[in-house]
């Protein structure tokens, strides 16, 4: 739960309003972020992954209130499980993350939940197409004269996921035989909960956050070979404590946490993996995160960060004799940075080194040293101009899955080396001052280039088996910009753009020099919103979204070119300020969204259709207490 340190790494933040608007999902939210590419397998609970600046999802560190979610056994993290209802904001650091969130080749993503800073009660209801139903409740209490607060929240999500899609039967050369089908066995039931407590003890702020999730869902499989019987259950629990203390020039915090998961996938007929399975996976990961910062001199700070994590995974399969194995990995990292302010030049330099070590029972311990140097120029900060640049290295240790396989279709590759990356990036942010009251213009332009070596890739050696290997590498470079504006007291504009160029350096005849698959070469997300704010806090708004995803390739050989696509969405909403039923004030949020109005049918991954046109309606009541 440690807040990231004050580095020079800019973040892109998605505010709560966008996390909770009608139809919002991890996929739709992350697509708004410049530099982020999303892989959505279609519909609620179908699975969502995201990479940053061409880096794979596994190269991005993911946090929930400071608790690391990435897993040493390599199990994919489904971003659709992030509890957006509880979210205060979603932070994305591209390429270089600040101290406390460092270590990822692609950067880091963190969802921060709401703190119990106010006394209020909230109930939110959302309904939508394809059986979508969400019901969320939250209550929080903040002692008026004491620094104590507590909140509890819960959300129920249900979705049938039975959206229609166009089945071309695989006969793309023969027109007229397309049929409309509905996804089946794609239903989802999910309950999430959050408890958040904060208090103070002397110079220290204490807090506790506990997340829990339980879900049951179907696994529909690829559209051309639908799985009628495969089901999946998952239960997770995250608990983190934090003590953050400050005295004089010292700041220090310590955050122990515990992550526990249990999942069970039932594929009785081998519809998904050909061989029937009833696999249960248990994961337990205690961790300790420590950070500190001290102002050594007026112009010199010292920042420290350490993390230790032990992960234990047990995989059993009731339908496969002999599949019962337990794997452990202990990882530790220590990082130090020394920010130096050169006042006459308005420059702040932040050099950093990081050492990480990982050890598993079956492997020799390994270690790696990485570094980063960042610089920030604030010479025109008073005019709203910030310039930042970073360069540094990062690694990703091979997962236990990549090293030891899954005992079935993924084979062991114990010789794997860690992925290594050298990345440089720069950004210019301009938020002019002196604008009329209530106006905002925030423009950011950034660019990066990255060289990644020893990339780990699963290579198929038959249709049903694959082995991980280090391919020679890849080269990534790109440009992004984002615009946020609030003009004329009635107009809000948001636009983010990504241009990305990737090139494989695999040394293989089929892939060398080709574009990396699934990374769109361009993406744009734009919103135009008109609004009117009434006296007393009531506001009405209407918006239109345009989502453009540029071309990319679906395969490593770059034979299959994915066409560019444009989707259009729109919505209206109102926030009505009212007298509270119990408390002195309340607000009623109403929102209606129409998504993918043109009913454009597309896929992020071949075989997994995305929903077409959809609707959603959300009503939320927030009661504030004294």
């Amino acid at each position: 739960m440690r807040d990231p340190g004050a580095g020079t790494t800019p973040s892109y933040s998605v505010p709560r309003a966008l996390l909770t608007e009608p139809g919002a999902s991890a996929s739709s939210v992350l697509r708004r972020v410049p530099g982020v590419w999303v892989l959505d397998l279609g519909g609620q609970g179908a699975g969502t992954q995201a990479g940053i600046r061409g880096a794979a999802a596994a190269q991005v560190r993911l946090y929930l209130d400071g608790i690391v979610l990435d897993q040493a056994d390599g199990a994919a993290l489904d971003l659709s499980e992030l509890p957006l209802f509880d979210g205060q904001r979603l932070d994305i650091w591209r390429s270089h993350a600040p101290l406390g969130r460092e270590g990822g080749i692609g950067g880091a993503v963190e969802l921060r939940s709401r703190r119990p800073d106010d006394s209020e009660a909230e109930a939110a209801f959302e309904a939508g197409a394809f059986g979508l139903f969400k019901l969320g409740v939250r209550g929080s209490y903040a002692a008026p004269k004491h620094p104590v607060g507590v909140s509890l929240s819960a959300e129920l999500l249900r979705s049938d996921g039975d959206f229609p899609w166009t089945d071309d039967g695989g006969t793309l050369f023969s027109g007229g035989d397309d049929t409309r089908r509905h996804r089946t066995n794609a239903d989802l039931r999910r309950v999430t909960g959050l408890v958040s407590v904060r208090g103070e003890a002397g110079p220290c702020e204490l807090s506790l956050v506990a997340h829990a999730l339980a879900q049951e869902q179907g696994l529909p499989g690829p559209a051309a070979a639908p799985a009628a019987s495969a089901r999946y259950e998952r239960t997770t629990q995250l608990t983190g404590l934090r003590a953050a203390c400050a005295r004089g020039p010292w700041r220090f915090d310590v955050s122990p946490s515990l992550r526990w998961q249990r999942s069970e996938s039932d594929d009785p007929y081998g519809e998904l993996t050909l061989v029937p399975s009833l696999a249960r996976r248990d994961a337990l990961a205690p961790a300790l995160d420590i950070g500190g910062r001290v102002a050594l001199l007026a112009w010199l700070d010292l920042g420290l960060h350490g993390e230790v994590r032990h992960e234990r995974y047990r995989l059993r399969d009731a339908r496969r004799a002999g599949v019962d194995r337990t794997q452990d990995r202990t990882s530790a990292a220590a990082a130090a940075e020394l920010p130096v302010a050169i006042a006459p030049l308005h420059i702040r330099l932040v050099p950093r080194v990081r050492v990480e070590r990982w050890e598993a029972a079956a492997d020799d311990p390994r270690a790696a040293l990485t570094w980063q140097a960042a610089a920030e120029w604030t010479g025109l900060a008073t005019h709203g101009l910030h310039v930042q640049a970073s360069v540094g290295t990062a690694i990703r240790a091979p997962s236990l899955f990549e090293l030891h396989g899954d005992g079935a279709t993924i084979l062991a590759a114990t010789h794997l080396a860690a992925e290594r990356a050298l990345t440089g990036s720069a950004s210019i942010r301009y938020a002019p001052t002196g604008l009329p009251a209530g106006w905002l213009v925030d423009l950011e332009l950034s660019a990066f280039a990255s060289r990644v070596d020893d990339l780990i890739r699963l290579r198929r050696n038959s249709l049903w088996s694959a082995v991980a290997e280090n391919i020679a590498g890849a080269r990534l470079r790109g440009v992004e910009w984002s615009l946020r504006a609030d003009l004329f007291h009635h107009l809000r504009l948001r636009w983010s753009h990504t241009s990305l160029a990737t090139e494989s350096r695999s040394g293989e005849a089929a892939t060398d020099g080709k574009q990396l698959p699934l990374r769109p070469n361009q993406a744009d997300q734009a919103r135009v919103e008109g609004y009117h704010a009434f006296a007393g806090g009531t506001e009405m708004r209407a918006f239109a979204d345009l989502d453009h995803v540029g071309g990319n390739t679906y395969d490593a050989a770059a034979l299959i070119e994915a066409p560019a696509r444009v989707t259009v969405s729109a919505g209206v909403g109102a926030r009505v300020a009212l007298h509270g039923v119990i408390g002195p004030s309340a607000s009623l949020d109403l929102g209606v969204g129409l998504h993918n109005i043109l009913d454009h049918h597309a896929v992020d991954l071949v075989g997994y259709p995305l929903p077409g046109r959809a609707w959603s309606v959300r009503v939320a009541w927030l009661e504030r207490f004294p």
Binding site: F173, P276, L411, R460, A556, P563
Partner: protein, 410 residues
């Protein structure tokens, strides 16, 4: 474990297929003869995307480097060709290249090798993954197709139930289905097809349960195709102690059947006695057998076989993850000798076998760094980069026209 995986991929025939029947077709090639029309088609694939090339195996040159590929049409939910495309055992009537897009697409595509255009496409899945295994022309401009997977979707129509031999018309419409499912519901999983001179068609049957945990002795079924779109089992012959029988080949005199062996998902082992190559007479009765546990083989046998000159049978001894590499062997059933023709540099890279007009073995070597198609003749091994247009590893070679001057008979 390693054998399990290898056999898993092989037996389910989604990664490798055999080459056979090069001399068995009584069809006649038509159209304008071009360099691309003659010879063999090559499936180049990394199991994610696929490209088809055409080569002249006698001259050892590529005549059509990129006939069609996965990106030849703008993708929808599916793509033009998936990563699991194979060629039928026997050449097609009239010279088109037939592509069996097996799993999960379940599509047959006819491609004109001269103009490189798609003549026709037929979806034989109808909402399920049929796992098309083979296709052969029969009289009346009709086709027989094997579908190894049953349709588990509720309410499937009689012609869409899968696990069958399907008769389709010239326009691709389904005419009749001959279920391979046994009376107790055990799937027959029909695999390769072999058209016989007497009008019969032989069908090899894998005989694996729905969950691939139970196996029965491999079989060949003799099928009669009636004039009135009727299909009938004449006889089904079981071969004791064989598993997952698939590859069929003939030189017009002798017939051979390959049975790679089963894998047991519970024990995760391969039954060594289930892997064999069988020599069959004209009634599909077994006359000779070479088993994988034979010291001269010492490995599970691949599902592809080919008939060579001199009455020999070419087979692949599969490598494994413990250091053994793929090998191409020649078995002479009469003399009962086994000779090694080729030793690969790695396991899992020899996907199929075929024969050129000289009765020499032709096979793909799917080395990602050096993908080639090779021919073993009396002077040694010669190879060409048949998939150079895409760089994809070659997985399968099959003759696409009848070689009239083929000399295979002993």
């Amino acid at each position: 474990m390693s054998n399990y995986l290898r056999i898993l991929s092989c037996c389910l025939a989604v990664a490798t297929t055999s080459s056979a029947c090069d001399a068995s077709s009584d069809t006649k090639a038509g159209g304008v003869a071009t360099a691309a029309e003659a010879g063999m088609a090559v499936v180049c694939s990394d199991y994610a995307s696929t490209a088809i090339a055409v080569l002249d195996p006698e001259a050892l040159r590529v005549t059509a480097p990129l006939l069609i590929h996965s990106g030849s049409a703008s993708p929808g939910v599916l793509v033009a060709l998936s990563g699991d495309v194979t060629l039928p055992t026997a050449p097609a009537l009239g010279g088109p290249v037939l592509l069996l897009d097996r799993y999960p697409n379940g599509v047959v595509t006819w491609v004109d090798p001269v103009s490189a255009t798609v003549i026709r496409q037929v979806d034989l899945g109808a909402g399920f993954a049929p796992n098309i295994r083979d296709m052969v022309a029969t009289h009346g401009a009709r086709w027989l197709v094997t579908r190894a997977n049953p349709n588990r979707q509720p309410g499937a129509k009689p012609l869409d139930r899968g696990d069958d031999v399907l008769l389709i018309g010239a326009d691709g419409s389904s005419l009749a289905s001959l279920s391979a499912t046994e009376l107790d519901g055990f799937p027959g999983r029909p695999d390769r097809l072999l058209a016989r001179p007497n009008g019969e068609v032989w069908v090899s049957l894998n005989r694996a349960s729905l969950d691939y945990t139970e196996w029965l002795d491999g079989m060949v079924g003799r099928v009669r195709v009636g004039e009135g779109s009727t299909l009938q089992w004449l006889e089904r012959i079981a071969y004791p102690d064989t598993r997952c029988c698939g590859g069929l080949a003939t030189d017009g005199v002798r017939n051979a059947l390959a049975c790679p062996g089963s894998f047991d998902t519970a024990a995760r082992t391969v039954d060594p006695t289930g892997s064999a190559v069988l020599l069959l007479d004209d009634n599909a009765k077994e006359t000779a057998r070479l088993v994988g546990s034979d010291p001269r083989v010492g490995a599970a046998i691949g599902q592809d076989i080919a008939m060579l000159a001199g009455g020999r049978v070419a087979l692949v001894a599969l490598g494994d993850f413990d250091g053994a590499v793929d090998r191409v062997l020649a078995w002479h059933p009469i003399a009962d000798t086994v000779v090694e023709l080729y030793r690969a540099s790695a396991p899992f890279i020899i996907g199929s076998l075929a024969t050129n007009v000289l009765g020499e073995v032709v096979f793909p070597v799917a080395d990602p760094a050096k993908p080639e198609v090779c021919v073993v003749d009396s002077s040694g091994t010669a190879c060409i980069p048949a998939c150079a247009a895409t760089g994809l590893p070659p997985r399968q070679v099959r003759r696409i026209t009848r070689a009239d001057n083929i000399e295979l008979r002993p």
